[in-house]
C-alpha cells in the first residue's frame, strides 16, 4: 500500500532535494521555460505553484515567505511584478509539463516545464519579423539610458524594455535548455 506516500525522492537526501527544487523553481521563474526530467518537472510543479499563489498577495510577509525559497532577489521581484500580473487571474495551474521523449546518454524521460502564460516560442515567421525591431530598440536604449532618468521618459521606456526582454528570452530559451541539460548532468 502506498497510502499517504506523496512525492518523489529524486534519489536525493531531504536537503539535496529541497535545494534541487529551489534551484529548479528559480530557473523556471527566471527563464519561464526549462528542460528537465519528467520526474523533476512534476515535482517542481508542486513546489512553485504554491509560491506563485503566495505571490498574488503583495505583502512584505508574502515576499519574505517566497524569498526563503527563491534565493535570487531579481527573480522574486519579477515574480511579484510581471509574472503575477500576467498569471494572477488563474486559480492555480500556472505551469505546463510537456514530455519530450528520452535523453540520449542515459535514456531519462525529458520534459519541458513552462509558465502557462509565457509560451513565447512562436512560429518562426512571427519571430523573424519581430526580431529586427527588438534589436533596434535595445541598441537605441542602451545609448539613451545613462543620460535619461527623467520620470516622464521612464514610463515609456519601461514598457519597451518589458517587450524586448520577452523577445530576447524567447531567443535565449533554446540555448538555455541546453545549459539546463548540462547542469543536470553535473548533478
Amino acid at each position: 500500500m502506498r497510502h499517504r506516500v506523496k512525492g518523489r525522492k529524486l534519489s536525493r537526501t531531504a536537503s539535496h532535494r529541497l535545494a534541487t527544487l529551489r534551484s529548479l523553481s528559480t530557473a523556471l521563474l527566471k527563464h519561464k521555460k526549462i528542460k528537465t526530467t519528467v520526474a523533476k518537472a512534476k515535482e517542481t510543479r508542486t513546489f512553485v505553484e504554491p509560491l506563485i499563489t503566495k505571490a498574488k498577495d503583495d505583502s512584505v510577509a508574502a515576499r519574505r515567505h517566497v524569498a526563503r525559497h527563491i534565493k535570487d532577489k531579481e527573480v522574486v521581484k519579477e515574480l511579484f511584478g510581471e509574472i503575477v500580473e500576467k498569471i494572477g487571474d488563474r486559480a492555480g495551474g500556472y505551469t505546463r509539463v510537456v514530455k519530450l521523449g528520452s535523453r540520449p546518454g542515459d535514456g531519462a524521460d525529458m520534459a519541458i516545464l513552462e509558465l502557462v502564460d509565457f509560451n513565447s516560442v512562436t512560429d518562426k515567421k512571427v519571430k523573424t519579423e519581430a526580431e529586427p525591431k527588438a534589436e533596434k530598440t535595445t541598441k537605441a536604449k542602451k545609448s539613451e539610458q545613462p543620460k535619461a532618468k527623467v520620470k516622464e521618459e521612464d514610463v515609456v521606456e519601461a514598457e519597451v524594455i518589458e517587450e524586448t526582454k520577452e523577445e530576447t528570452k524567447a531567443e535565449e530559451s533554446v540555448s538555455e535548455e541546453t545549459t539546463e541539460d548540462k547542469k543536470e548532468e553535473k548533478k
Partner: protein, 59 residues
C-alpha cells in the same frame, strides 16, 4: 521456514515467462508536420505539442 518442495522445471519456468513481452511503442502522426512521433510527447521534428510550439528544433 517454508521451502519449495520441487525444483521448477524448465517447462514450468518457460511457461511462466510466456507473458514477458515487449510492447510496441504507441506511435502517432504529428498533427503539425505529419511526421511519425511518440504519442503524448512533443514532436522532435517540429517541436509542436497540442497545436502549440514548445521549442524550435535545431537546424
Amino acid at each position: 521456514m517454508a521451502h519449495p518442495k520441487r525444483k521448477i522445471s524448465k517447462s514450468r519456468r518457460d511457461k511462466r515467462r510466456t507473458h514477458y513481452k515487449a510492447s510496441a511503442p504507441s506511435i502517432a502522426k504529428c498533427s503539425n508536420c505529419g511526421e511519425i512521433k511518440l504519442s503524448h510527447r512533443a514532436c522532435p521534428n517540429c517541436g509542436y505539442y497540442a497545436g502549440r510550439s514548445m521549442f524550435v528544433p535545431e537546424s
